[in-house]
């Protein structure tokens, strides 16, 4: 157990080193670049015994990672925004091939226009792909989620790739104290790499040949099944990690004062920390409000959240992305998911904010949450969908 001061990006690199990754595909893109730079240092100095493929594009980055993974290597890459979109075709290809792979996404808004600041558009754009998707609130969690990603991905009950999200600059380039677990203990816990097949000349498997519709649908139904089973594995991994390394987060969601709350906030990412600050202020004024923080957006924790909000007076979902023409992705996933368990939903509000990297502070959250609750207590429902924008 060593305390290091690490940026989010360096926390990713540290985790990749602890996981003893064999092959890294590297391509630069703001705000991810320092991940691959740090990994290059580790590899060239011998601290990490791995091969680095300095690919010529992100599309080739994930293609090369796929190649390495099917041939039996623990493989990793990282990207953001435009790069993630460029490799989108491969994001689907990898999960449908059921090959364990881990990728870090340092989130950044998507152009046009050029914009390097963080929101969740690039990350949530991948939610249909069949990857397990986790998202961090601080750099400690970045490190922990990244290490755990290898354990989850390579579990035969899962056999799906995992992507970890962290906001660009806010976490990526900001230094925080991070407790780094003992490398040997991590290596022992992760154990050998497990995968369902290997393409290395040992057996004449053909991976991905044309499949008729019925066969294909059966394969894809199994992806959904694996997603459902992975919930159990995620919780197990969180618990084991807690026992071995001293930190447990609560599984797919993390709760802040939500068990005795009448009003619930749902959020994902670094600004959850700001929301927690605003909740503390509101609690001091007597507002019974709590935060449900989404740590895993795929598989979506609808059942877990239902367990908390079934008797809620209202739920506010903050989204840092939008599906144009509809609403925020987290909101849509939550409302849809809740209908599996109930016909009666509490009042649910979707607030879009922080898109394009607009900085939302704890004061903004304090104002928005207070307004919503005050209004509801007076018997007036605020608009269900709001895009909160501010300048300066």
């Amino acid at each position: 157990m060593v305390l290091k001061v690490l940026t989010g990006n360096y926390a990713v690199a540290e985790a990749v080193k602890l996981a003893r990754v064999d092959v890294v595909a590297a391509y630069p893109i703001t705000p991810q670049t320092s991940i691959v730079e740090k990994l290059a240092e580790y590899i060239e100095s011998g601290e990490l015994e791995a091969k680095m493929i300095r690919v010529e594009s992100e599309h080739s980055a994930l293609a090369a990672v796929f190649g390495a993974a099917i041939a039996g290597a623990r493989a990793f890459t990282a990207t953001s925004s435009q790069g993630l979109l460029y490799m989108h075709e491969w994001v689907h290809w990898v999960s449908r091939a059921r090959i364990p792979v881990v990728m870090a996404i340092v989130t950044r808004a998507i152009g046009t226009p050029w914009n390097i600041w963080p929101d969740h558009a690039d990350f949530l754009d991948q939610r249909d792909t069949g990857w397990i998707m986790s998202f961090a609130m601080d750099n400690q969690e970045v490190l922990d989620l990244t290490i755990q990603a290898f354990k989850i991905s390579e579990d035969p009950r899962v056999y799906l790739p995992v992507m970890i999200g962290l906001e660009g600059f806010i976490l990526g380039h900001t230094s925080m104290p991070v407790d780094v677990p003992d490398p040997d203990k991590v290596a022992e816990w992760l154990g050998p790499r497990r995968q369902p097949y290997v393409i290395d000349g040992s057996k004449p498997w053909a991976l991905g040949s044309l499949a008729w519709p019925e066969e294909t649908e059966e394969m894809f139904m199994d992806i959904q099944k694996a997603m459902e089973e992975s919930k159990k594995v995620i919780v197990e991994v969180d618990e084991e990690y807690g026992r071995l390394f001293g930190r447990k987060y609560g599984g797919l969601i993390a709760c802040h004062r939500c068990s005795d709350a009448k009003y619930h906030i749902v959020s994902m990412g670094a600004w959850s920390g700001d929301i927690i600050e605003s909740i503390e202020l509101l609690r001091n004024e007597g507002y019974p409000v709590g935060l449900i923080r989404i740590r895993y957006v795929r598989p979506f924790p609808d059942k877990e959240i239902y367990g908390i909000v079934s008797n809620s007076r209202a739920v506010i979902v903050f989204d840092r992305a939008i599906s144009y023409g509809s609403m925020g992705p987290l909101y849509m996933d939550l409302v849809a998911g809740l209908t599996k368990y109930t016909r009666k939903l509490p009042y649910m509000r979707n607030i879009i904010a922080g898109i394009g990297g607009v900085n939302i502070t704890y004061q903004d959250f304090y104002k928005l949450i207070k307004e919503t609750i005050d209004s509801l207590e007076k018997g007036v429902e605020p608009p269900v969908f709001t895009w909160y924008h501010r300048r300066g």
Binding site: S57, G72, I199, D200, G201, L210, W212
Partner: protein, 295 residues
């Protein structure tokens, strides 16, 4: 090399999905034979994606992975690095892609893999169009050829010379081959396997359906390409071009058959003009000037 047919026997299994007379399984028999089925083949979108047959059966007796169109070279790079890390040295990593997947959509990843000099053999089997989607023009389609996207004017540009692009990348081994000369192709595969680094082979593969000729004539058409001097068999390594046996006679222009002998067998050149034939003859002359200069 009387053992070639023996070595070919358990490579491609009968009952694959290629069109009758297709050069692809013909060539794959040679590849399997050269490496004794000890290979990992990376196949992007192309005719071969279908030739192999449908899940859960495969007509190829070796490890194969299907990949997205642009990525044969990138995936092969990843596999090569993983196998090296795992200490596996006796398995060839072969990217097997068509001209579309190499010269067009695959150009970037091809260039990247070549520049990084990964230990792979990249074989571009050149049937001179996007055949799997029904005969559309690629940068490798020869000038004047009919395709469904050049249905009236024929291709306007000359063929992109990918082998020369690979030579310019400075990779350890570049070769051209033809399905008409399987022993030559076999020898080149063996030579490539003996060299560490990025090896490129462009394999001329006449397509009966796309070039519009009777399926029985695939080998004859491929031979005529050599005999007219239009396709040249060579290797390029250690800074020098080495002309291959079957092409040696055609250093002498007098020995080359008139290009029309080759063109007239193919329906895709049915509307070709005399002017274009002369242009093609000039193209052949220039090609041989370049060959001589680099020998």
């Amino acid at each position: 090399m009387s053992h070639l047919p023996q070595a070919m026997r358990n490579t491609i299994l009968p009952g694959e999905a290629a069109c009758p007379g297709c050069p692809i399984p013909m060539a794959l028999k040679v590849v399997g034979a050269a490496f004794n089925n000890k290979l990992v083949m990376v196949v992007p979108a192309c005719c071969t994606s279908i030739v192999i047959g449908a899940y859960p059966g495969s007509a190829f007796n070796w490890s194969t992975v299907h990949v997205a169109f642009a990525s044969a070279a990138a995936v092969a790079s990843g596999i090569a690095e993983a196998l090296e890390k795992r200490g596996i040295k006796d398995v060839q990593v072969v990217a097997w892609a068509g001209d579309g997947g190499t010269a067009d959509i695959g150009m970037a990843s091809l260039s990247g893999a070549a520049e990084r000099n990964h230990n792979i053999i990249y074989i571009m089997y050149d049937n001179e169009a996007y055949m799997n989607t029904g005969i559309q023009r690629s940068s490798s389609t020869p000038k004047g050829a009919w395709t469904t996207t050049t249905p009236i004017m024929g291709k306007i540009e000359h063929k992109k010379d990918v082998a020369r692009i690979m030579i310019a990348h400075g990779v350890p081994y570049v070769a051209t081959a033809s399905i008409a000369y399987p022993h030559d192709f076999y020898a080149k595969l063996k030579k490539a396997a003996s060299i560490r680094g990025f090896k490129f082979i462009q394999l001329h593969s006449p397509c009966p359906v796309g070039w519009r000729f009777d399926p029985s004539l695939t080998v004859k058409v491929a031979r005529l390409a050599i005999e007219t001097g239009l396709w040249v068999l060579y290797e390029y390594y250690d800074g020098r071009l080495r002309l291959s046996g079957p092409s040696r006679p055609y250093l002498d222009k007098a020995k080359r058959k008139p290009v029309i002998e080759y063109l007239k067998l193919q329906g895709r050149f049915r509307k070709i003009t005399d002017e274009l034939v002369r242009e093609i003859e000039k193209y052949v002359d220039e090609l041989w000037e370049w060959i001589k200069k680099h020998m």
